[in-house]
Symmetry: C2
Subunit: 234 residues, 2 copies
DNA sequence: CAGTGGTCTAGACCACATG
DNA sequence: ATGTGGTCTAGACCACTGT
């Protein structure tokens, strides 16, 4: 089937295997030869074959199980990798200048819908920050954020008129777990005003819950200005 | 800083390194010891340390360069992995029954905007298929798809009244590359009618270009019914 | 129990980036 | 020129799982 695969290395093995899947040599749901057999065929070692197959499995093409072997997946579970940059970086990367604008902030008990969602008491206090992110003087994103009081040290002393909550949290809570949700929503009167768009415009909406060691730290709704696209390549 | 890391293996090394990043032992923008040094510290080999660091780099925590070494990234470029299931599976997984409905199909030259986007001549012929995917008798997604004539064998003999283009393509073109784009759009009159929603509703929109060996095969716009959410974890 | 992938070791050479 | 990560080899033992 394949010939002259004289280039060496796990990458070329990956490519050959992918080609054989694409051209049907190894049909969906069928099993590949064992690592040992492939190592012999490619005049390589099992270690190298293993890396090639392991990566292909991670990319969603193969399923590997001890004892049974390596199987070609029928409908490859395609995975997209989304990069989630800081908004400042995202805007800069698009070649625009970035500006942060503070709309409002203050301490308040969690609204009931959010307390329920985070599985916290409605008496939990939070800092509610609303802000705008501009790209070249056009509103790019409206950010509506709650930060749970007591979840992060130093929260009481931050002035969100000066620094965006995102930037501050990234500095303060370097690594955490995140739940993301994407959807669409019609702009209500206030969001429309803030984003300088007609009421009812379809906005791309991102919701994000950040957890630190199992406890929620912050919940954010981000409303993107009309026309925003989130893209990915596989 | 860290103690009693008696568990062995590249996974435990990953965990220890992550902990040291989180607790500030290795601050952002600072350099880690070399693989050799870490191998000594963990009583392991460079191969094993290499795997741990390689995976952490792939997950966005580290940047590795020959000669300079391994650096802790300031703001980890968080990446989300989105699973892109077949819509039939997505609906079934949500516990609803799936039904496919054919709206229209026919052969036509590519519209200019699409030809430009795919870098093809406007004289290129394509099959244009429009269809609906129902979840429990509610419209779930409207699919507006062009399939490039000649890009796939057997296209002329398929009856898209019987099989959804997605299902057919998955069977026919097992492996391919995909560009994805997500956004929001207001429902126009026709889409509103098809999805049984008021005109102007904010819809979550997915656009997808599928490539086979560098040539475009199909372009799809998928309009999701109001309320649709795409979720993931980091 | 036996077969297959998962991982580790010890050592080597190579590729690339920096001084 | 030199240091660091990138990868390969050859061999070994282990862990899971199907029979």
């Amino acid at each position: 089937m394949t010939q002259l695969d004289q280039t060496r290395g796990y990458k070329s093995i990956k490519q050959v295997v992918l080609n054989r899947i694409q051209d049907g040599t190894w049909a969906p749901d069928s099993f590949l030869p064992t690592e040992m057999e492939l190592a012999t065929e490619f005049s390589s070692t099992r270690t190298t074959v293993n890396r090639a197959l392991r990566e292909l499995a991670e990319e969603g093409y193969l399923e590997r199980k001890r004892k049974s072997g390596t199987r070609v997946l029928e409908a490859p579970v395609r995975q997209a990798r989304l990069a989630i940059p800081l908004i400042r970086e995202e805007i800069r990367a698009a070649g625009a200048s970035y500006r942060y604008f503070h709309v409002s902030s203050g301490k308040t008990p969690l609204p009931a819908w959010l307390a329920g969602r985070l599985n916290l008491s409605t008496e939990t206090e939070a800092v509610h920050v609303r802000s705008l992110h501009y790209a070249d003087e056009s509103p790019f994103q409206f950010e509506d954020r709650w930060i749970i009081a007591g979840s992060v040290a130093g929260l009481d002393t931050v002035d969100f008129k000066m620094i965006s909550p995102n930037e501050w949290l990234v500095q303060t809570v370097p690594v955490s777990n995140v739940d993301l949700s994407f959807g669409a929503t019609n702009a209500d009167a206030e969001v429309a005003r803030l984003l300088d768009t007609p009421e009812g415009s379809a906005l791309f909406l991102t919701e994000r819950v950040t957890w630190l060691r199992g406890a929620p730290v912050t919940f954010t709704r981000m409303y993107h200005a009309p026309g925003y696209r989130m893209t990915t390549k596989l």
